[in-house]
């Protein structure tokens, strides 16, 4: 499944999976990294890690994914989770409205603890549960737009969009990082070269990536 060898990469990105307990973070991770799904999986304690490398623009990007505990009593100290993270997949369950309502609280935690440039993607998981849906796609999509997040609906069970979700967020991060590398504008200084667009990662890139990987 992995598209390249594991031991060579151009970029290593830390991405955290966050969201309420039971929304399917661990299964998203196992689907992405090992193509496995476990209906009976236990609560994550502390954190679990997995890595997978993908290719973007001929560069190998290794994603180091931190699957964090959703249940508060199983969470380690918060700052450890977010330190150095460049991406976050904020997952909720489309069939459980409460998990969607809690997205705001997770966003607040990200704002308090994570790098301000962190790329956040809102992920509505369990899209296979059509008959139980309680969070309309449009509502979540417009919420994501309002908050400057990317948005995707996935199903770890039937694999829908899992690959795309990770591909998209890693591509976004890659774009930002590679663009920053051209010339890092001094912090706080407003003068920017005119030919460099400010960091605004919007679906322009992700749409064609989606095509690539969902064939």
């Amino acid at each position: 499944m992995g598209s390249s060898r594991d031991d060579e990469y151009d970029y290593l990105f830390k991405v955290v999976l966050i969201g309420d307990s039971g929304v399917g973070k661990s299964n998203l991770l196992s689907r992405f990294t090992r193509n496995e799904f476990n209906l009976e999986s236990k609560s994550t304690i502390g954190v679990e890690f997995a890595t997978r490398s993908i290719e973007v623009d001929g560069k190998t990007i290794k994603a180091q994914i931190w699957d964090t505990a959703g249940q508060e009593r199983y969470r380690a100290i918060t700052s450890a989770y977010y330190r150095g993270a460049v991406g976050a997949l904020l997952v909720y369950d489309i069939a459980k409205h409460l998990t969607y309502e809690n997205v705001e609280r997770w966003l607040r935690e990200l704002r308090d603890h994570a790098d301000q440039n962190i790329v956040i993607m809102l992920v509505g998981n369990k899209s296979d549960l059509r008959h139980l849906r309680s969070v309309p796609t449009d509502e979540a999509k417009s919420f994501a737009e309002r908050n400057g997040l990317s948005f995707i609906e996935t199903s770890a069970l039937d694999s829908t969009n899992v690959e795309a979700a990770f591909q998209n967020i890693l591509t976004e991060i890659f774009r930002i990082v590679s663009q920053k590398q051209i010339r890092d504008p001094p912090e706080g200084d407003v003068i920017r070269p005119s030919n460099v667009e400010s960091i605004e990662v919007k679906p322009t890139v992700s749409s064609d990536v989606r095509k690539q990987c969902c064939q």
Binding site: D6, D7, L12, K14, I18, G19, D20, S21, I45, G46, V47, E48, F49, Q64, A69, G70, Q71, E72, R73, Y74, R75, A76, I77, T78, S79, A80, R83, G84, A85, V86, N102, R105, W106, E109, D112, H113, D115, N117, I118, I173, I176, V177, K180, Q181, R183, D184, P185, P186, E187, G188, D189, I191
Partner: protein, 787 residues
């Protein structure tokens, strides 16, 4: 000038008179038109003149602004000032001239037109009216009927009256015209004459002004010529500079001084690991500084735009970095951080590395040579370290060097727990790290666990162990502050390596005098016992506990003196010691602190190994130190207690400092007991995050499988201890990355995250321990436990 018309003609009202009037009127009208034209032109001239003056003064103001620009250049400033003064004077003159013009030309001529010429018109109107009346009277008179005497008479009367009136009026009119005609030339001419004089004055003033400043402007023009020559010369030299471009290279730095500056690419250590170009330089007080700005773009002020990357080079090392894709990289490593920097070329890389290394060398040299000044430089260091450094000396005995009693010790041996002067620290270093691990009090960054160890021991306690039995007639001279190095070295070797002055093994007190020649195991009159009390010198602040009454009592209290019981370490006279400020919180993950119970052992079993074993579980560092000095075997295991090691015991004591002390003194970290449990297993089982962290930091193996098939991680998961699970998994992940990265060592991110745990564990261990329980009470919510 004679009147141009006869009085007679006027009185006769002859055609000639009428013709005269017409001619004069036409002429006056013509004059009026001309005058009005003049007034109009003059008004325009004055207005535009005023406009000109206004602009001129704006020009002068702009010159003032220019002058401000030259504040630094006194000559230019003065010259400009004078020139501006001249311009302003001229402008003033011009204003006066314009004023004069409007006063003379405009005012006089307007008055002439408005009064004199308008009066002519008034007179004319009046005259025409009277003339008409006169005509009417003539007609009436001519039409008067001869027969009507009265009518004739009346007409004649009217006629004579109107005629007389007409004649007077005509006369007035003529008089007036004549006078106006006579006055026009002088008044116009005098007006113009006034204006001419005003002009004259204007030019005269200008000329005077120029005369006044003549000398100044002459010298100014000479100056300008010299400047021009200077400029030409400068131009030549500047052109020549181009030639030096080829011969100049970036590496052309003066290598004899320790100065270097220039652009380097800096790798960000956190988040997006991007590279950015920054201007780096070495500051006067050996700080490695870089400017936050890529070029000369200024923020609000220049001072604020600099960041200190390393504030004391003396604790840094520099090495080239060969790993990674980029060329010309080097690394600046300090005890807490590491920075990757990239130069533009191989030569520059070399220059940076050599200069930095030289500066580090020079800085260390300076700081050791000029000891009196070092207190000055230490004040520039960050406050945390300064607090440490002062507090260390407050520990009993620490204000003087442990070996030579020299004042003002600045070094420490962290595994023995003493302070040293620089000379003695050199000897300690030469013994090797298995005897003594030397650190600087002022230059090194101190980990909290090392501080804790230092605070438990100190020179007074340690010398009661290592200098307990210095004979009065010793063949060896104790070193003094300024003694010869050989004396110092001999003493220190005798003290720590040969252990010639070591304290004796604890003995049953009753027998002390009767049997001076040891052999403890022989006949013991009573069943004497010994024990080690739990001890921690730092007072534990337990404001949140209500039942804390017994805790603050010095551990070596006398309530336990029994004839048959020897409390080992009692002679060390340990006292609790207020040490707030050196460690942020006195909380430590020690359990059962208030429980003063300890196991008593028979004297026949007293060996240094068992003493250390018991002292470890009591986290009694002075006794541990004594046991090591008495020769405890670092690899010893207690066959009677599951073959556990000292470290197992220290973990069970719940104390971080006991673990750290053992590890500092070289005990094995990964030994398993009979159950296959390593120290890390035990720490995990007890849920002691601070100890688990400490063990992992000392590279404990985390995947040892115990006899029950469990690794530490399995225990942590079973216990649902999120923090330890995270620590273990993270360490494992870091090792995996490290292996793939050609042994690139620890990842920055890993270090940072581990540091979070460390800080959290050492400041709020109780919170960590209890978190699981307290959180059970809360309902399931996203983590909001922002501390």
């Amino acid at each position: 000038m004679p009147p141009s018309i006869d009085l007679e003609e006027c009185l006769k009202d002859s055609p000639k008179f009428r013709y005269y009037l017409v001619r004069e009127e036409a002429e006056i009208e013509h004059l009026e038109q001309r005058l009005e034209k003049i007034i109009k032109a003059c008004t325009i001239a004055v207005d535009s003149g005023k406009e000109y003056v206004k602009n001129q003064s704006a020009f002068a103001t702009s010159l003032w602004d220019l002058q401000k620009h030259f504040v630094g250049d006194k000559n230019a400033h003065n010259a400009l000032g004078k020139i501006i003064h001249c311009f302003q004077e001229m402008n003033k003159f011009h204003t006066i001239l314009l004023d004069q013009a409007s006063r003379t030309v405009l005012k006089n001529l307007s008055v002439f037109v408005k009064e004199d010429i308008n009066n002519v018109k008034d007179y004319r109107g009046h005259f025409l009216k009277v003339s008409e009346n006169f005509d009417n009277a003539l007609i009436k008179n001519s039409q008067a009927n001869k027969g009507r005497q009265q009518e004739v008479q009346e007409a004649a009367n009217i006629l004579s009256a109107t005629k007389s009136c007409f004649q007077h009026t005509a006369l007035d009119y003529v008089n007036y015209i004549t006078l106006v005609q006579a006055r026009k030339v002088p008044s116009i001419l005098s007006t113009l004459l006034d204006y001419y004089q005003a002009c004259g004055t204007y030019y005269h003033q200008g000329s005077d002004l120029c005369n006044d400043f003549e000398d100044f402007f002459k010298s100014l023009s000479e100056d300008v010529n010299t400047m021009r020559e200077d400029y030409q010369q400068l131009e030549k030299t500047m052109q020549n500079r181009h030639q030096s471009v080829n011969s100049y290279s970036d590496t052309n730095m003066n290598n004899t001084t320790n100065k270097i500056e220039g652009y380097l690419f800096k790798k960000k250590s956190k988040g997006f690991k991007t590279w950015c170009r920054r201007w780096f330089y070495l500051s006067e007080n050996n700080q490695l500084v870089y400017s936050d700005l890529t070029g000369f773009r200024k923020r609000n002020n220049e001072e604020n735009s600099c960041s200190i990357m390393e504030e004391d080079l003396r604790i840094c090392t520099v090495r080239p970095v060969c790993e990674g894709d980029r060329r010309f990289c080097f690394e600046v490593i300090s005890p807490t951080k590491s920075h990757i920097l990239q130069a533009d070329s191989a030569d520059l890389l070399q220059a940076w590395i050599t200069t930095l290394q030289k500066s580090i060398g020079a800085a260390i040299h300076d700081s050791t040579n000029s000891r009196p000044q070092s207190s000055l430089s230490s004040s520039q260091m960050n406050t945390k370290r300064k607090i440490n450094w002062e507090h260390f000396l407050k520990i009993p005995g620490n204000s003087k060097c442990c070996d030579c009693r020299g004042s003002d010790p600045r070094w420490a041996s962290i595994n023995i727990g003493i302070t040293l002067c620089i000379e003695c620290s050199g000897v300690h270093r030469s013994l090797g790290v298995h005897y003594s691990k030397v650190r600087s009090l002022t230059l090194d960054a101190w980990e909290s666990e090392n501080i804790k160890v230092m605070m438990e021991l100190g020179n007074e306690v340690v010398n009661k162990i290592y200098e307990a039995t210095v004979p009065d007639n010793c063949d060896m001279r104790p070193p003094s502050e300024n003694c010869d190095n050989s004396v110092r070295e001999a003493w220190i070797r005798a003290k720590y390596v040969e252990k010639r002055f070591l304290c004796e093994m604890p003995k049953p007190s009753v027998l002390e005098e009767n049997e001076p020649t040891t052999s403890i195991t022989s006949s013991l009159p009573r069943n004497s016992k010994w024990g080690v009390k739990k001890f921690r010198r730092r007072i534990r602040h337990t404001s949140d506990d209500n039942d804390s009454g017994s805790i603050n009592i010095p551990s070596m209290s006398l309530d336990l003196t029994r004839e048959d019981l020897v409390i080992v370490g009692d002679h060390l006279k340990l006292e609790t010691f207020e040490m707030a400020g050196i460690i942020s919180s006195d909380q430590e993950s020690t359990e059962g602190e208030d429980d003063s119970f300890f196991e008593e052992e028979k004297f026949d079993k007293l060996t240094p190994n068992l003493l250390l074993y018991k002292a470890s579980v009591a986290h009694n560092l002075p006794v541990m130190c004594m046991a090591f000095a008495l020769g405890a075997n670092k690899l010893w295991r207690n066959e009677l207690d599951l073959n556990r090691t000292f470290l197992h015991q220290a973990v069970l004591s719940g104390s971080v400092m006991a673990c750290e002390f053992l590890l500092l003194n070289g005990v094995q970290i990964d030994i398993s007991d009979d159950n296959g449990y390593t120290a890390l297993h035990l720490a995990t089982q007890k849920g002691c995050i601070a100890q688990a962290y400490l063990l992992l930091k000392h590279k404990a193996k985390y995947d040892t499988v115990a006899k029950d098939g469990k690794k530490p991680i399995d225990i942590a998961v079973d216990q649902r201890n999120a923090d330890i699970v995270t620590l273990l998994r993270l360490t494992r992940l870091n090792d995996e990355i490290g292996m793939n990265d050609e042994g690139n060592g620890e990842d920055e991110l890993y270090k940072d995250v581990m540091k979070d745990f460390s800080n959290f564990a050492s400041s709020q261990p109780r919170m960590l321990r209890n978190r699981t329980e307290t959180l059970e009470m809360h309902s399931r919510t996203p983590s909001s436990n922002s501390e």
